[in-house]
Symmetry: C2
Subunit: 410 residues, 2 copies
């Protein structure tokens, strides 16, 4: 009864030690390719001898390749090492409000195949989605010419709360999903290792790994689309809370007794800065347009001096800034990243005003340590981020690939 006060600790055999060191080395190499044994020794803190040993092991397993060399003033050249990007593959799935998208990547995260299934807005039934995903999996495998045994895992980003556990359960407000055992349903159709997570969180991962979040240890990635979500990263890790539903920034209250939100509460942030809510507040919106064009039109109208559009945006910037200030005060991140299609559209035009509103509503010290930026990966990042889930497992040494994929040891 003490686990409450200390972080999880792995079992301490001398063998686990090796697994950990190997993992540290892999992470380092993965994010700093190509590298040399020497450099790895520096970055990991391991002795050159240990680096040599581990690297030999990795080369034998065909996970790492030697690739050229670089002169070292006068002496023996350093050998360049890089991860064999064809050692295995990962798949990322983006289950969005309007489509299901499946992408296959190699270990370097270059896209090798894609499948895209537009979704009828009225067709969010569980079986439809499951079918699309399974269909997409076979499609990208075939398309890329990759066998299932070479797949390290499949990451799936879905809207709504994802309860991790023995059985992965998805609660999708917008989809009308209630406690859907998505993992079990999918496992009926595929044997690939699955990693299911909330879409905002997977997008957050993508920005942290490859986008505007690189280098930050503490960040919040805000996903503003039709609705509003966020992914909180502390110490480089996505904050999940006790049942993985942390980060529901959109339903934070900014006005007690304010506008009604689709979640049933009043005064939620989402009821002011979600695309749906913004358009709702704007009388000038022509009906029948899709949200994306409608919001773009609103922005144009404001740029052309339309008073009402302008005031809706002004208000939006204020509320969004307030929402961000809450994040700053509570999390003290070094960086806040605005993403999602609506977030990017709004940010482009309103960022200074949003920043100003955030400044006015947060504590000076914390605000001064936070930068507020736009996401760099676009709204397509959900699948990419989802695909990093199996990559993480791989780098941690928690995935073993069938032997056929290993070169016979020297």
């Amino acid at each position: 009864m003490w686990e409450h006060v200390t972080p999880e600790r792995r079992r301490g055999t001398v063998r686990d030690l090796r697994r950990d060191n190997r993992s540290v080395l892999l992470w380092s190499l993965y994010f700093d390719q190509p590298s040399t044994r020497q450099e790895l020794s520096r970055t990991t803190g391991l002795s050159p001898a240990s680096v040599s040993n581990v690297v030999r092991e990795l080369i034998d397993e065909d996970i790492v390749h030697e690739a050229g060399a670089v002169d070292s003033d006068g002496g023996r050249p350093r050998v360049l090492l890089r991860i064999n990007q064809d050692h295995g593959y990962v798949i990322g799935v983006d289950v969005g409000e309007t489509r299901v998208r499946v992408e296959l990547f190699d270990l370097a995260m270059t896209e090798r195949a894609t499948a895209d299934y537009p979704l009828d807005p009225r067709e969010h039934g569980v079986t439809t989605i499951v079918d699309r995903i399974l269909e997409g999996l076979s499609a990208v495998l075939a398309d890329a010419g990759v066998g299932p045994s070479a797949i390290l895992g499949v990451g799936i980003g879905v809207p709504g709360v994802v309860e991790q556990g023995d059985e992965v359960i998805v609660h999708g407000q917008t989809y009308g999903w209630d406690a859907v055992p998505l993992g079990r349903l999918l496992r009926a159709g595929t044997d690939l290792p699955l990693h299911i997570d909330n879409g905002a969180k997977t997008m957050g991962r993508a920005e942290m790994w490859f986008g505007a979040g690189r280098g930050a240890q503490h960040a919040v990635v805000c996903l503003i689309g039709s609705g509003v979500g966020a992914s909180v990263i502390a110490h480089g890790r996505t904050h999940r809370g006790s049942t993985s539903s942390a980060g529901e920034w959109g339903h934070t209250t900014v006005v007690v007794g304010g506008r009604e939100c689709r979640c049933g509460a009043q005064g939620c942030l989402e009821a002011y800065v979600g695309a749906e809510a913004i358009l709702d507040r704007y009388a000038g919106a022509p009906p029948g347009q899709d949200e994306e064009s409608a919001l773009a039109a609103l922005l144009d109208a404001a740029a052309n001096g339309a008073g009402e559009a302008e005031s809706v945006l002004e208000e939006t910037a204020l509320y969004l800034g307030v929402g961000l200030s809450d994040l700053i005060n509570l999390f003290n991140p070094e960086r806040i990243i605005l993403g999602g299609w609506a977030g990017l559209l709004l940010g482009e035009r309103l960022l200074p005003r949003i920043r100003d509103a955030a400044r006015r509503h947060s504590l000076r010290h914390a605000f001064s340590e936070t930068s507020i930026e736009l996401g760099r990966l676009g709204p397509e990042a959900v699948a990419l981020g989802a695909a990093t889930l199996p990559i993480e497992r791989f780098l941690n040494g928690e995935t073993v690939l069938p032997v056929e994929h290993r070169r016979s040891a020297g």
Copy 2:
């Protein structure tokens, strides 16, 4: 350039492994005393042989004592082990708004000496505080008859933001402290190892270790006094953010454009539920009373049916509930603990109403997984929690005590 995405990893020598295992064992024993080697083997996952080895080491260092035995149906009795509570001592300091309090504890956290220095409300100068603390340190050492060499460390809880780093800097809004290098100032007067942290955070630690937080991995401890603060615990660790100013819940915005807060912003939670703010909103408050009696009087007035008092409280419960719902949505804690003198007073009478308001403003799933409770340790817990800072270091094996305190090895 990859640390952004993986948690800190310790250097991996076979020696660190031992230190870690020893630490795991110590934590387990600390929170589950007395215990036996056998039981420790179970809880730590270490083999009985390793437990034996480590325990022998700890006994040799006089950190652990054997204390009696317990029959085991028929066979050799299990030997009970407990931590030698006199192996070393820790000191906790509570720098509050009205006093400085210094307490000395043994390893079992029983209080051995106390020193208390009331503070003139106008006298929050840095040197005054530093002097009081130093005075208190000598006082408790003398009082308990303990030499400085037996002190594992001193934990200090202060109001305001504490920036951890090479040089500990304190920003105390309420105190009018701006970037005070408290660590350096104290080090001029004492050689004891110092741990400085925000008072809300140290109180949170106390509740997590010994109070209403026991057993929880994810919790938020709310400190409501004259102002409002919070301590967020994720995975058993206090969340600090990038510059340790995380958890400033009090300055979260609950009403855009709302009441002015002493921080300069508008609509902060603190401007509604801090004791000062509550009394401010209550016209019936007789002047010249201290806050504590005034709030108690307000509560009594409401209990006796005074309409205005009642409505102020009703409103307070609403705002507090909304504040909690933000925590629930963002952090998804398993437990929320209401503490601080005002929090306890309010909670006693208003808890059901607070809970209800929180429920109405948070997402169903997250709310249903959270319990909202009152703190168990009272407002005195700041010093206790501060004292756990050096305890933690000790249990992690990061503290070495001078040899004089070790029994000569057998």
